[in-house]
Each structure stands twice: as structure tokens, then as C-alpha cells.
């Protein structure tokens, strides 16, 4: 485990940079994490992040298929929002654990 300062707050992160405690999350922390990947978060991004946080808190297994059926965006849109990692980056910015899904 490591510590990292995001949006002026020191939080615990995993080796891969995922928040250890989802409750540390804020929109500002998400924006800081996204910046590291060169992504500027928009309202659409936040909609996806809030959806992932809600599903993760409910204990659902996440997949891009599920996000694609959420009504927020389709799978193509998800790739455009989070290039190179539609599920792993969105989960990272959402402050939830790295998804253990193959789809």
C-alpha cells in the first residue's frame, strides 16, 4: 500500500493506483486521477463514475457490457470516454477496486 496526495488530500492507494477506501473518493480526486491519464472529466464521465460506484457498493460484478446497457452510454461511447481502458480506468477514477472481470 502507498499513500498519495490527490486534490489536496492524502489517501491510501494500491500499487496500481486504485483507491483503497472508496469512501475517500470525491469528484476532485476523480479529476486528479483522470488527469494522470490525460483525460479531462466531463459530466458524462461523472455519470459513468457515479453509476460504477453505485453498482460496486451494491456488490455487482462489473463489465463493459453492463455499463453499455446502463443507458448512460453504449460500449463505443465508453471506449471514447476512457480510451485504452474502458473498465479499468473508469473504475480507477470512480475510486472502486480494480475489476476482476474478463469482459
Amino acid at each position: 500500500m502507498a499513500e498519495k496526495t490527490l486534490a489536496g488530500k492524502t489517501v491510501e492507494v494500491t500499487e496500481e493506483g486504485y483507491l483503497v477506501n472508496p469512501e475517500d473518493w470525491s469528484q476532485e480526486i476523480a479529476a486528479d486521477l483522470a488527469k494522470e491519464n490525460g483525460i479531462e472529466l466531463t459530466d458524462k464521465h461523472y455519470e459513468v463514475l457515479e453509476y460504477l460506484r453505485k453498482e460496486s457498493a451494491a456488490g455487482s460484478a462489473l463489465s463493459i457490457r453492463k455499463v453499455g446497457k446502463s443507458g448512460i452510454t453504449d460500449i463505443k461511447g465508453l471506449y471514447q470516454l476512457f480510451p485504452g481502458g474502458p473498465l479499468k480506468y473508469s473504475s480507477k477514477f470512480a475510486g472502486i477496486p480494480k475489476p476482476a472481470s474478463c469482459v
Partner: protein, 167 residues
């Protein structure tokens, strides 16, 4: 001292040559997993693997229940080969496999191809096999970019960090 330099995987070419559920899904899952990780993926379907991109067949794939030593009854007992020859058994087992995959959010083949294409993955059909089975672009999924030769396949397989995977 030799310096060890790690080259990250940048591109995978995945070849699918068989039509059983497990052979086709192995290729689809690997291709989709690649694009989800930001790795370029190209799928090349050949021989019986063409069923997976043939509109009429793609959602009717079966798994072999005869001569398949990995096949078990629910509960774990071996699945007798003789049972597999009874009409309807293979269809039943195949339907069950699809149901179990759907529970894990693994989509049917047509939707899986949509997902891979949405991520920028490319799908190709083998020219020789298409000629042999008398299939044309009209028979194939809209996601099939072209019918190509093995030479074309190798031509697009170059570059550092590229791998060809035969499932």
C-alpha cells in the same frame, strides 16, 4: 551482462479455426480482453471457425459432448460418451453452457462481435476457407472487414510487441 528489456504487448492476432462454443469464445474473450486493455486486436477466422462470423450459424454454436473428456454431469460425475449420442443432448448441454456464460455477462456471439468492434478490434475471414465453404461477405457479420489471405494476415502482424495466437 545482458540488459533485460521488457516489451509491452501492443498487438495480438488471434486465429480461430474451430466452431465449438469453447473454441470460439476463447478467441472472442481474448480479443475483447485485449481491446479493453488498450491492446490492438485482430481476429482471423478460418475453417470451421467461420461459423462464428456466419450470420446463419453464429448464435447456434454447440459444444461437443462426444469424445470430450472434460465434460461432466452437473455434480461432477463423468459425462458418459454414449449419452452424448442421444438426439437433443448436445443441444441441451450447449444451451446450458450459454446460460452459464450469460450469467457471467458473457454475451452471445453477435453481441460479442459488436463489443469487440466498438473497442476498435478488427475481424477478418480466411479466403481459402471462405472459398471452400462457398461463403461470401453477404454471409458474414457486418463486422467482418474483409476476406483475406494468409499473406495479408502476416503483413498486418508486424511490429514490436505483436503476437500471433492460434486458439
Amino acid at each position: 551482462m545482458t540488459e533485460v528489456k521488457e516489451t509491452p504487448l501492443k498487438k495480438v492476432m488471434i486465429i480461430v479455426a474451430k466452431a465449438s462454443i469453447e473454441d470460439v469464445y476463447a478467441g472472442l474473450i481474448m480479443a475483447n480482453g485485449a481491446v479493453m486493455e488498450g491492446i490492438e486486436a485482430k481476429l482471423f477466422f478460418t475453417f470451421f471457425g467461420l461459423d462464428a462470423i456466419t450470420k446463419k450459424q453464429m448464435n447456434k454454436l454447440h459444444t461437443g459432448v462426444v469424445g470430450n473428456p472434460g465434460m461432466r454431469m452437473p455434480g461432477g460425475l463423468p459425462f458418459p460418451t454414449l449419452l452424448g449420442v442421444i438426439p437433443g443432448v448436445e443441444a441441451g448441454v450447449s444451451a446450458m453452457m450459454k446460460k452459464q456464460m450469460d450469467d457471467l455477462d458473457v454475451p452471445p456471439v453477435d453481441e460479442f462481435l459488436d463489443m469487440i468492434a466498438a473497442g476498435g478490434g478488427e475481424v477478418y475471414a480466411c479466403k481459402m476457407a471462405a472459398d471452400m465453404f462457398k461463403l461470401t461477405m453477404d454471409d458474414f457479420s457486418e463486422h467482418v472487414k474483409a476476406i483475406i489471405t494468409v499473406g495479408d494476415l502476416y503483413a498486418m502482424s508486424g511490429g514490436e510487441g505483436s503476437q500471433i495466437i492460434f486458439t
